[in-house]
Symmetry: C2
Subunit: 138 residues, 2 copies
């Protein structure tokens, strides 16, 4: 069994968000997705993000307000949300005093051929998805 | 965007664990894994479980003590653990008063052919992994 600690994981700052990227754990051969944690301080929000990968996010602390298009969704601790490929999103922490922390898994859209059980992965010459959050733009 | 609510999700009891299986959301074409939440009451533990799928678990509330072989790992809220294929495990909630809730994603071992970027999935004639927790044995 391997363990991954949110507190001691190597992190980087993107704006005022603490991002712990799972590349550091070198799990490419084991996981069918990439992953990260990110923490949004009280009153702050993530940069506008949009990417080809689907993204499943689980709120592990605090409450998220997720803005997509004209909609706002409130996601409480423990609950989850799935962003479609290329769906633009901002994640807000509207709390005055509690940090918001999210675990996110993300992967390229699946193209399943049910007849032979083969999944063809999108090619990714750069070896790593392009993500606004990951790239540190803001 | 789709949202998945831990509280209102359809659940079943396995021993005294509340299990919310994600099959109800019909995400097979979108997610490269299966998923569930499970909640372990204070002082209780999961049945001994062992299955071919790798399993990544994120603690979304409480603290988990995970028993594998002779080892015990303490995993706090927000942190995660990855079980290998066929690794037997028990998840304990040693708290006297706080519920433990875990989000788990699980998938068959990957067999990646790096040359053509094709992932061949293990065949699964039954259409669904066999899991002691899922089957409700105890």
């Amino acid at each position: 069994m391997r363990t991954f600690d949110l507190i001691t994981g190597e992190s980087l700052l993107v704006k005022d968000l603490r991002v712990v990227r799972w590349e550091q754990y070198r799990l490419d051969r084991d996981l069918p997705f990439q992953a990260m944690w990110y923490s949004v301080p009280p009153g702050s929000e993530s940069p506008l993000d949009q990417h080809p990968e689907l993204e499943l996010s689980v709120v592990v602390a605090g409450t998220a307000h997720v803005l997509t298009g004209d909609a706002v969704h409130e996601i409480r601790q423990g609950s989850a949300f799935l962003l479609s490929s290329t769906e633009a999103h901002v994640v807000q922490n509207r709390s005055a005093d509690q940090e918001l922390t999210i675990f996110s898994a993300y992967w390229m859209p699946l193209a399943t051929d049910d007849r032979d059980g083969v999944v063809r992965k999108e090619s990714n010459p750069a070896g790593r998805p392009v993500r606004i959050v990951a790239a540190g733009h803001d």
